[in-house]
Structures are given as C-alpha cells and as structure tokens.
Subunit: 426 residues, 2 copies
C-alpha cells in the first residue's frame, strides 16, 4: 500500500446520508425535537457579526429571559451540552479553595460535586436517599455549618425523577450571603422555574429535555450579583487585548467557560471569543419561541397533564412507581421492573417492535427501574397512550398479568375533558 | 404589574421563525455550509444509546480518521466550538506546572498560549512577525532551550492567512520527547494535513472553515502516545463509578474536557459522560462524508484552485496581498485596504448591495487588511468571480482606479481548462 492509498484504506466504505429510523423517544431525554426546531436547524448560516446574527442573538436572549423568568440581561448560551453550562457556571463562580455546598439527591448532584472538585473547590455534600428531596431546613442547617460561598443544587434529577423545591432556597442563601446556583437541565420548561422570584444567582439547562431540542446548547442565566463576581475575574485574550483592558490575576481556569468573556461576546461590545454555533443558536431560539407561542404556563400544564396521565397509566398497568411521588418531576416517572422481567430485553423489544425508547437507570437504581419520560414535543396524549399500549404488550410477553387496556384507559381518562394541554404545537 | 404578568413583559414581542437573509460568506469563516450538511442537521433525533446512534458515532469516527489521515482509533468530536477542542486537548495533555512551548505567528497562537496558561502550564513562546511562519530550525532551537513536555502549534492562522509547515515538526518532537499538538481549525480540509505521517500526537479543528459545516463541533484526534497520557489521568464520576474503577489523583481540571472520559464515551464501554449533541454529530459526519465522496485530495485541489483564482483576481484588481504568499493557506487571502477607502463601510456595502461577506481583521492588522476566504462549499468558481465583480464595483465607488473586469477575468483564466475542481459537490 502506498502512502497515497492509506486514507482510502482507513475508510473502509463511505456510508450513506444520515437517515435515522422512526423513534418515539419516551426516555429521560434526549427526546424528539419539535418539528419547527428541526426546521430551524437547517436554516442557512450567516456571518458571526452579520446584523441578522447579532439580532438573532439578542432575540434569543429575550426569549430565554422569558423561559428563565428573569429580567437579568445576563442570559446567554454556552456552546456545548448541558454539562458545559454547569461547568461554565461553576468554574466562573468558584475560586480555587472556595467552599461549595452540594446537596445530593441523585446522579447529577454527584456531577455538580465532581465539577466543583475539579474547579479546586473545597466541596461539602449532604445526601438524601435516592427517591427523596431535601427540606429547606436541612439545606439551611448545612449552609450554616459549612458557610459556603456557593450552594449548587440540582432542580430535577432524572436519575431519581425527583424535583427539589427551590422556592425557599434563595431566601436562605440571601440570608447567609451565599451564591445560589441550580442545574435545571431536566426540569426547565416542564416544571415551574422562577429565577428572579426564587433568588437564583445562576442557572443552566440544556435543550434535550422539556425544551424539545437537540443536545448541544446550554442556556445560562446569571443574576446581577453573579455578573459582578465573574466580571471581577475578567481577562482579555492577548490576541485582541487593547491598552487599558483590565486583567485579573484571579482568572477563571478555563478560557472556553469564562463567563466574563462570554458575556462580553453577547454584550454590546461583541468582543470576539468563540465563533457562535449558529445552527444550535437557531435551535435554542426556536425552543424558547415554541414556549412563548404556546404560553409558558400552558407548556408547564401540558407537561403536568402528560405526566399525570403516564403516572395513572403505569399504575393501572400494575407497575410500582419509584420514589416520593409528591416530589416527582412532571416529565419523567420511574417504575420498578416487575420480578422476572429482563429489563434490558424488554426495553429492546419496545424499541424493535414499536420504535419506542424508554430509559434504563444509573447507580443504585440500575436494573431496578425503568424511566419513562413525557417531555417537550412528546408531552402529548398520543405519545402517552401509544407508549402504554406497547408496554402492556411487552410486559405480557414476559408473563406479567396486565389488565388489558387498563393503562391506556386510565391515562386517556385524564384527557377526557378534551381541554387545553392535550397536544403540542410545533 | 402582577407577578404572573412579568414573563410576558420580559418578552416584548415574539419574533418570527428564523429566516436568514441570503448571504455568500467569503470571509475567513464561518462560511456557508454544504447544502447536504444543512439537510443532515434537520434529521430526526434518536436516543443516546440507540443502535443507530452508536453506529452513526462509529461511522463518524471512521470518516474523520480519513480526514485526519490517521489510523488512530482515538478520533472523536468535542461538543463545542473549535476552541472547545483546543481546550480539551490542552487541559487533558498538560499537567499544572508543565512547560509548554507555543510558537506564535498570529492571533490563534496567542489563544493557545492563553489556554495553556489557564491550564496552569509554564508557557514559553517564540514569535515571528505577522505574515510569516517559522523555519523548523527555529522551532527545534526553542524546543532544545525550553525542553517542554508539549509543543502547541497552529497550522493555519486566519488572522494572518499563514500556513505553518508541519511536515518536519513531528520528527523534531519525537527526537526530543515532546508531545506535538496542532490546531488545524482554519486549514483542515483545504490544505494537506497528515496526522500520522507528520507525527501529530493531537490535533483539533472546527467545522466552520474548509469543512463546510456550522460552528459547534470540534473534531479531535489523539495518537497512541497521547491516549496513554490522558488515560493516566483518568477519573470516573461518582454517580456512575463502579468498584475497582481507577481514580487518578492527577486529574484533569475539567470534567467536560477530560478526554479520558470522552474516549470512554466514544469507546466500546460507551460510558456515560455528556449527552452527545446529535444534530452536530450529524453535521460533522456529513462534512467528512462530503470530503470522502469528492475525494480528499480533490477537495484540497479545489481549495488550491479557488485560492489561486482569488489571489490572481485581487492582484489584477490592483490590490496588494499581505504576507508571505509562498506560505499562505489556500483558503484565505489578506489584501491591504487601499488608501482612502473606509474599510468597514466598504465591507458593509459588499454585504448590503451584494449579500457578500468579506472579513475584517484583528490586532496589528485591524483596519489595514480585509480577509477574503474561499472555503468549503464556497471554494467555487462562481463564488470567486461574483466576489471579485462586487469588490470591483465597491472599490470604484471609493475612487480606486480599478481596471474594469480585470480581477474577474484573471480569476476565470485559472478555471479556463474546465477541468476538475471547478465546483463543489453537496
């Protein structure tokens, strides 16, 4: 083989154009995107400083202010998946050696602790058994004991399906001079979130859950107080620095995740940083636009209805729901895998025979529960009923005595008034 | 205003669906995507561990091995823009306190130094005036003097249009036991790049230049030696860790950019890390597929022809080309803004009257040169000729004595044989 032939040899054959199979994604996310979001992604590109581009960025910021429920100007996208948003918030707010408190009620609490550790924080954690959430008093007690500079708290942890109440936490943080960050990746858009009213200093999300978009863009909001912290650590790149630009010695240990630079890029100065991921911007804009068009509360109500219908359906199917149902996210339910049913084979049958994906689980729940989501575009009556019908068939194959049609009918009953929230726009 | 009304007030009005204007993007990037790449981006989503998804990831790796010209299995995407790829390579390969050598011949050399500094490296730089490149002997001399663990070198720096020859550098690094990383964002696909033959240990890129895709995905390759380094720093997240999993104390100071974890996610274990940005994966797969279909050398030749035509065209238009033309990238040319022409107004006229974007510049070249690109899908005869025709009109408006039609005809002459490379697939 000559040198010139090596590249062709490396590539055994050229695959065809991407042509994904039909799927109904009813796991804990990612889920199907809204059709209008997929359309937005194929829109033609424009230059980074084209007036159309900067206007699209400004519109996107306004749309996300609405989703976050904040008047803060500091609403941007981090160009990466949801954990890129988490890391940007944490490395920009945490100085090495800072004390950080992370209450852990599932896998993603562990992730926040892990990212904070890598940011060289002194990380303190409190834990609650999977399937439960924290009482505000337990968090305040830990805040008083640890005296952290930052509290990092997941809102909805898909690993357990739990939704941590946040409404009283901001006040606790305010009282003790602690910055309050929440990871709302799994919950935002499908459950209430009030950045200003709840006193959030920073929050991040992704598009691939209740927002109904693809993974790859991480919306982020900062309060005025958080903006001051990140601006105090500002540094401008040598290649574009001008005389008199401030240079902090206390710099963020990442260029890509330096929120001071990202704010300058999105702000009036439009100071060059990364090259904005144009297609993902279009997607993030459209995800927020879907919410604005349908109505923010209407979307939350649609998730609540779909979640209640799925809950009623799995219960009527005879499945045991995992965790504290009173504190469950609207958009996902965990059910115990019945004795004798091979969990992964049953999931594979759902995918192969019906094109429906439901989720496996992590850590202590691995092999014990399936997770079934009703998120974004898929928080729809037909998606709920189809999933329940298919699940019934598969369970029966494995010898589970399922009352015929009971799950579907129990779910359909919740939709029987034909009122709002029975379908998704897009 | 009641609390319930605030969200609506935050959002003054709901903008329409994204509807970008027609543009011909002839700047230094981002440029127009290949039509087939835009189509790929609107393909429906599938689950993260769907057999179709893991197969698409495997295909993408094979396609990118071909683009990089490497047999290394460690070819992945970093989910972020090109500088996310740079940071992932640098923070994963650099331990705090390591000596890193960065030869700087433009803005992006400064960026590598800046990212290495933030990764707590002891950074040593050598510089050459903008518009020139380094002789291999100058790099070897610095390697011998500094004794770095890593050499970080830009291949093509769009800020100056220069293409640093890399062919002899790998051997120098091998001789002195230095890891060799190159940022090929601006050059890959439009100029030769031979990862294995040139002895690269790590290289990264973006899609938005010669690859003809949107910004937001950073292809990355690692050699076997580099894989050993990142694997030695491995850490597995608490939420998914199993008994016996190794945990290095010498961990990477980032979770998102920890290439050991990213390799595990792309590798046979498929260990959960981020949620792959599905639509950007589709785009990255299609960008590499376009190259495979047209032929890697044919795409490089098409860039060479378009670049030569643009160079002939601007010269015949009477413009002075900036920098060492013998070491210019194929895909971009910098021309001095003629005396008396207001650079930004002229660029604005190109955009407003013709929908054509050409580029401004940074640092010492700001206000002195425009940068004109011929990249990816836009490395086409019609794109070159249209740009030259429009540029002539605009220059004449500002009083420049341009020989009528000379630029277009000089460029067209290079295409006159009607041979291969006169258009782009897609």
């Amino acid at each position: 083989m000559t040198a010139a032939e090596i590249p062709a040899a490396i590539l055994a054959e050229i695959p065809g154009p991407i042509d994904p199979p039909h799927r109904l994604l009813m796991g804990p996310g990612p889920v199907d995107a809204y059709p209008s979001v997929l359309r937005a992604m194929s829109a033609r590109l424009v230059g980074q400083y084209d007036p159309f581009m900067t206007e699209a960025m400004t519109q996107t910021q306004a749309l996300w202010r609405h989703v976050w429920s904040t008047t803060s100007p500091a609403c941007v996208l981090v160009d990466g998946t949801s954990r890129a948003g988490i890391e940007a918030a944490l490395v920009s707010l945490i100085r090495p050696g800072d004390r950080v408190l992370v209450p852990i009620f599932g896998r993603f609490g562990h992730l926040l602790a892990e990212i904070a550790e890598r940011a060289m924080a002194e990380v303190h954690t409190i834990e609650t058994p999977w399937g439960q959430v924290f009482a505000p008093s337990a968090i305040e007690e830990a805040v008083v004991r640890v005296r952290p500079t930052l509290l990092a708290l997941v809102q909805g942890d898909t690993s357990t399906t739990m939704l941590q109440p946040l409404a009283e936490i901001g006040e606790i943080c305010e009282r003790h001079g602690v910055l309050f960050y929440s990871d709302a990746t799994a919950s935002l858009g499908g459950n209430p979130f009030e950045a200003d009213a709840w006193g959030l200093d920073a929050a991040t999300a992704g598009l691939q859950k209740c927002l109904g978009g693809p993974s790859g863009s991480a919306p982020l909001m900062l309060s005025e107080r958080a903006v001051e912290v990140v601006r105090g650590r500002k540094r401008i790149e040598a290649g574009i620095r001008e005389a008199g630009d401030p240079q902090s010695a206390d710099f963020v240990r990442s260029n890509y995740f330096d929120l001071g630079m990202i704010l300058d890029y999105w702000g009036p100065r439009r100071l060059n940083h990364h090259t904005e991921a144009t297609s993902m911007l279009y997607a993030a804009r459209e995800c927020a636009r879907v919410i604005a068009l349908e109505g923010r509360q209407a979307v939350i109500d649609r998730h609540a209805l779909a979640g209640a219908a799925m809950l009623a359906g799995v219960a009527a199917t005879g499945l045991t729901v995992f965790g504290d149902v009173a504190h469950k996210m609207s958009n996902v339910v965990a059910v115990e895998i019945p004795d004798g049913v091979p969990g992964d084979l049953a999931r594979a049958a759902m995918l192969t025979d019906f094109g429906i994906e439901i989720g496996t689980s992590f850590g202590p729940l691995h092999g014990r529960v399936w997770r079934i989501g009703t998120m974004g575009y898929n928080a729809r009556r037909d998606a709920v009923l189809t999933t329940l019908a298919a699940l019934e068939v598969v369970l029966r194959r494995y010898g589970v005595a399922v009352p015929p049609g009971a799950g579907v009918e129990a779910a359909a009953a919740l939709y029987s008034d034909g009122g709002p929230g029975d379908g998704a726009a897009g």
